[in-house]
Symmetry: C2
Amino acid sequence: MFKMWKLFCKKCGFEGEEDKYYPFCPVCKSSLYIKGEKPKFNSILGEGNTPSVKENINGYEVYFKMEYLNPTGSFKDRGVSYSLQLASSLKYKCAVEDSSGNTGISTAAYSSRLGLKSKIVIPKTAPQGKKALLKSLNAEIIESNTRDEASLIAEDLSRSCFYVSHARNPFFIEGMKSIAKEIEKIKPRGVIIPSSSFSLFLGTYYGLKEIGINAKMFAVQGIETASLKEFIDPIYESKGKESKLADGLALKKSPRGEDAIKALKESNGGLIVLDDDEIKLGLKKLWQMGYMVEPTSATSYIALIRLIELNYDVNDYVLMLTGNGLKFYDLIEKIL
Amino acid sequence: MFKMWKLFCKKCGFEGEEDKYYPFCPVCKSSLYIKGEKPKFNSILGEGNTPSVKENINGYEVYFKMEYLNPTGSFKDRGVSYSLQLASSLKYKCAVEDSSGNTGISTAAYSSRLGLKSKIVIPKTAPQGKKALLKSLNAEIIESNTRDEASLIAEDLSRSCFYVSHARNPFFIEGMKSIAKEIEKIKPRGVIIPSSSFSLFLGTYYGLKEIGINAKMFAVQGIETASLKEFIDPIYESKGKESKLADGLALKKSPRGEDAIKALKESNGGLIVLDDDEIKLGLKKLWQMGYMVEPTSATSYIALIRLIELNYDVNDYVLMLTGNGLKFYDLIEKIL
């Protein structure tokens, strides 16, 4: 096989074999980085090229990037498509992921598409509807007692299957970068992104930098899981204690936290931390505008409003709407 | 107001007032036609420009048009957006539609977006999840005893509200035409469309003709509701008796049947009639390929396979995937 790339660890110095995939550092479990020439892959199921809708919000012209209109209903399709095309090219026969949410669904769909067997590890308590969806996509569902146990099971399965590992796998971020070219024309001055694993956050940031665009990067997190707060003070923080509605922002600690802080500081952006009351408010407003998003996406909208109140000039800001609310249609009504 | 267009009836000769909307002929209840200059409207919520994915099916190059990735999850957004922008420009304050399916959801979302009140008339027996979705979009839900009663209630409400009336309103077809430019590059030789009201079928046909493309038009219908069979023999028909899975093809009689037959014959296309067993087969295959569509959309795929078996050269055919399966995620598993 032609030698093109290597994965390496910035934390402990580990360097992988040429063209060999590691879902995380086998020595210290950190997220990895790529050196060499990265493989190129195309859209296979229509992922990417989602609509950007120009909106006038309180007198500002902003753009809503409808990532929830990706094939399986979230931005994750970009990273999953790239990662699993890589898995195919490396002759893997199966894929594993620990997620009952958007990444799990996307992994199941793209695995099925590419002829890989998928194993999705989810907590026993995951909603029945999600399990049904995964089964419809031919996934093997493996139930764990806790979220942490799910990760351990996935790590264990990674010895024989391609572990998508969206929070640590650097190829996942490579897949995300495709979004930058799609917002290039807007010349975004700022980007607002609900962020937990930072794959979309860093993919957008690196992608924009590669095409010479500097935009302020704003990460939005739930108040219960605001992993960036240990590194930086939020520019805005809600008063409540709960953020259970933002189930797409569940990671309490992100392996990519330091990279995210670097991007945020370099770009002169900021951290916004929201509670359920504000998320509910944002969800109500977005559905009223016709955007049928999942609750996590509503954090983008509230962040925008708070930035305006903090006197940011948000003209030409891009706001990411990350996940489709149709996956939750029975729950949305109860929230609103 | 500047005089631009008039609606008229080909059946009974009725001619409407200038720039006045009638959802159907007030004399004989037929579908109407437009004369004069048609208004132009833009995409307001990202509708349209859905992905076309090139697929190799049994050695043929065909294109899957992912209409289910429209904002509210179906192709109906094109016609609803156009119709309700017209309603706004005509100063209507409310919109009504009799549909618990894709048209109802789309009408609720675009009404909310445009500041119109929406009234959706649905049979009492409609699934709870659909009602929840409509409520989340601020629709007023009016329950009827039967499907026919729902139509009568909607017709009655049309005296004060804009009745979207997707099966008879000619502006709905105008909205659909936007799809033609999106598949122009493919130079489609044939188009396969699940068809009940024929809005997408006729919109695609007229739109393609306007840009000089002649494509064979294939309508796919459910065996219980194959309204075109009274005019033409199917080129393929399943052996079963039921087609309950294709709930998007429920109209037993279409006001646009004669126009559809004309398009079908002029274009040298055909009618394909399918039962639940075949729809189930198509759904399984599409989900396996990663297309998370609703059962109705699966009819396109089976129609394609049957055309190949009938020795049609289906190279550069376009196959419409009309509705998003996420709206049915709890039901799909039971079907597959």
